[in-house]
Amino acid sequence: MSVAELVADRRTRAQQERAENRALTKLTIGPSPWVRVASLAALVVLAALWLLPVAWGAVTSFKQEAEAALPASWWPTMGWTLDAYQQVLSNSDLLIWMWNSLVVAGLVTLLTVLISAMAAFAFSQTVFKGRSLLQWLTIASIMMPGQILIVPLFRQMQVMGLVDTFAGIVLPQIVAPVMVFILKRFFDAIPSELLDAARIDGAGTWRLFWTIVLPLSRSILVAVAIFVFIGAWNNFLWPFIVTTDPQFMTLPVGLSTVKNAYGVQYAQNMASAMIAALPLLVVFMLFQRRIVQGVATTGMGGQ
């Protein structure tokens, strides 16, 4: 498809969407212009309220440190500056933590999706001894909140020598029984004839899994991956417990535990927060539709 076609395609889709939205407006709140104006006003107020903390943080981050400590003003009188950003980028481990977060969240996502999909496939499409027992155990473990395991898990990590290692941060996070069930539900809907036909053709179980089941399930795999990634990127408690060395800290842990040696620097604090917020916000803007769908289908925990 050429660029021109892509643009045209996008335009028709946007037009369709607008038409659908207009129809929806008629169906939900009817033709009254007053209700429309009131709803729109409510949306504007709510959105402004929800954007306020981030907007205020952003304004502060572009102020000079001396001005940030003065009573709040939206327009900096001493001028806009990138000083705070320069300071935090050169004087803190921010970029290291960001890299660590990326590695950790990436590994957690990859491993979680892989082992959950494999287990879901086994539960859904194969027969083996102890399958129902394992399935029952998996359901039971959904109810186990990871947070209450911090004490024994930390002790275990000490014994295994995994404190202050990526393995120690990542491995306990890859157990996601809920995801196994979400995926199993999806795999259950794959017609058995399709798999049997491939089996007759002599395809091994690995081939079935890689060439039939996974490609058919791309949408749900992406949904699960998005959900797991957001969770891992933002996870605080476990990485906080298992790391003490700033070189291994993830973004949330480093930001909140390592304090500036020069006392409180408001503009710099906000600059760090803005930098830390940026990656996921950009990803969200790029893949909004996918992420919204992914969170909605996965967030219910397969209910």
């Binding site: 909140p145 906000m270 927060a273 969170v295 909605a296």
Partner: protein, 322 residues
Amino acid sequence: MTVSNAGVTAPPGKAPSDPKRSPGRSGTRSAATGKSLRERDRSGYLFVAPFAVATGLFLLLPTLYGLWMSFTNQSLTGTGSEFIGFANYAEAFSDPQVWQTLWHTVWFTVLSTIPLVVVALVMALLVHTGLPGQWVWRMSFFAPYLLTSAVVSALSSWLFQPDIGLLDTWFAALGLQPVGWLTDENVAMFSIAAVTVWWTVGFNFLLYLAALQGIPQQQYEAATIDGAGGWRRLFSITLPQLRTITGVIVVLQLLASLKVFDQIYLLTAGGPNGSTRPILEYVYDTGFTNYRLGYASAISYVFFALILVFALVRLLPSRKEA
């Protein structure tokens, strides 16, 4: 979520069967053994192995190990791991800190869950009107959910900053007294709940929005023909259709709120005067600040019992429907 059955060629001599609901029982049977192809596929355990090993190592083992620890006087410094029976549990039940932090946890759960459900519903209803600006509304309501707790606490403590913070500045402009948002024992928990609503409501908002999009439009069309107005349609079609999802969201939210730790630890560290400390922070303090791993495990299990009650409530309705 169903994969279409159309276009799949059934093997000769075999009528297409129901898309398999009962694995291992349907499917093509081999004439020689009478077993389905799936039943002859014995490699399933290899596929489940990585997940089973990970679950065993990082969920089952610590669960059992923690239970054992709760009956010992183990310390983080490595000393003492004698079996002391139910002594930790006896101490936990008579420890006022356990009851107090448990109460804070429940109080936070109540304060946060109600607005987290109601505000999410209002947002979703407003966005589902299809009014212009869809992208902006979705973005502004959901974006905070993408922020990590450290960023959330940095942004909100800056808003709450005494004297020079935005809120106090506005209050001063209105001629009101400054409020100890995070330093007044009577206010801190409300501030934390408000931050939590701002932070995570976008998630429930998306769940509601997805549910709203699932309501068949014909119902609205039929109602319009029958002359039902906007409010009538809201109360007679939309809200009744959301009953099931509301139940699910409430339970998921209760479970999430009970596990509160991040934002409280980062905003007030449980203060002022321990007035916001949740039970999970008490577990953390007991284990990692006071080094009493055995006692911390016992408190964890008391807390677990509470969560289990909610988790079981969550499983019950879904089983009835299945």
